[in-house]
């Protein structure tokens, strides 16, 4: 089974039925897989803080949400994470492509990569880093943990996890 299908299977097994996304080349396969599944309502957003608002509303409406995004956007979501997701104690799994790590071809991506874990740590956001594909075995317990503790939880997935960047 592909890693994309495994990830989406875990989302569905944990009753996640609302997903919002801002695309990333590395996450394209997961996003395409989500669109093949009737169990998930996918509403693409125009910006990640907007997406977190959508997730907050979906959760209050009875659906378990998730957001799929790049780490480069973490900076624009700090206020939303603090004053909406954390302040109102809302659970939010964040599946994040960790751009700017080993095998990264675009230098500018490194500029946010060096801040990514520091921002998450400063905000006391539980953070998991998937480097090998076997690390995805923990996705299921991470999702259960997220909805147990009602917190935003970050899952960073780097280029090694995704198998590099292909021809880029």
């Amino acid at each position: 089974m592909s890693i994309d299908a495994r990830i989406v299977d875990d989302l569905i097994a944990n009753d996640i039925s609302f997903v919002t996304t801002v695309p990333c080349k590395q996450l394209a396969g997961v996003i395409a897989e989500i669109d093949t599944r009737d169990a998930i309502r996918h509403v693409p957003c125009t910006k990640e803080d907007e997406g977190m608002g959508l997730c907050a509303g979906a959760f209050m409406g009875g659906k378990r949400p998730a957001i799929i995004m790049q780490n480069t956007a973490l900076g624009v979501t700090v206020n939303t994470l603090a004053t909406l997701i954390q302040y109102y104690r809302l659970p939010l799994p964040m599946l994040i492509s960790y751009r700017g790590e080993l095998r990264e071809p675009v230098a500018c991506q490194v500029e946010m990569a060096v801040h990514t874990k520091a921002i998450l740590s400063q905000m006391n956001i539980p953070t998991y880093h998937f480097h090998r594909q076997s690390d995805a075995d923990e996705l299921d317990p991470i999702l259960k943990y997220t909805f147990m503790c009602n917190k935003p939880v970050a899952i960073l997935t780097d280029a090694t996890f995704w198998g590099g960047y292909g021809d880029q």
Binding site: V43, G53, A58, F59, L84, Y87
Partner: protein
């Protein structure tokens, strides 16, 4: 007519409806005029009322009314594209457009100058867009509820704020009682 007068006017239509209310003085005014478990007050996060309301509308069937402001919509203008492209017939975005950032001292917004949020909403794909004056807001909202169709209402009104107390309710209490109202039969 200023925002607080419009909210007072619309209160009978808002009663027992799921309402997501914009940050700052709008939430303080609604809280003082008609506090209900079915009101979700934003205590922070400027700009996301419409996004929270849209997520809520997609997740369940009851009508959702978002009370937003022109300044807040301008900080999250992409929301109008997401709204325009998302099937949510139970979603109503009511923008109280007083042409100013009310909570911060009534500085002018672009919506009070050359930018028409109604035109932007239309251009972003929402078909039912209504522009009205403050006096007609309650009626426009009632009609939107009856239409059962995704609607953006832009209420053009005067700038100004009523002096109301800050909301001291805990955010988890606001969220918990709101979720109770969402689930209630």
């Amino acid at each position: 007519m200023i925002r607080s007068e419009i909210l007072r006017d619309m209160a009978p239509v808002l009663k027992d409806r799921l309402v997501v209310c914009n940050i700052g003085i709008p939430s303080q005014e609604l809280h003082a005029i008609q506090d209900e478990p079915s009101n979700f007050y934003m205590l922070g996060t400027m700009g996301l009322a419409s996004s929270i309301g849209l997520g809520l509308a997609v997740a369940q069937k009851k009508p959702v009314i978002v009370i937003d402001g022109d300044g807040s919509v301008l900080t999250n203008l992409g929301t109008l594209a997401t709204i325009g492209n998302t099937h949510a017939p139970n979603f109503i975005l009511l923008i109280i457009d007083n042409g100013s950032y009310g909570s911060t001292g009534d500085q002018p917004t672009y919506a009070g100058q050359r930018t028409s949020l109604a035109e932007v909403a239309r251009a972003c794909g929402t078909e039912r867009v209504v522009e009205c004056r403050g006096e007609d807001a309650g009626q426009a909202l009632q009609r939107a509820l009856e239409a059962g169709e995704k609607t953006v209402i832009v209420v053009k009104c005067d700038s100004g704020n009523a002096k109301m107390p800050v909301i001291t309710m805990d955010p988890v209490t606001i969220r918990d009682r709101f979720m109770g109202a969402v689930q209630a039969e």
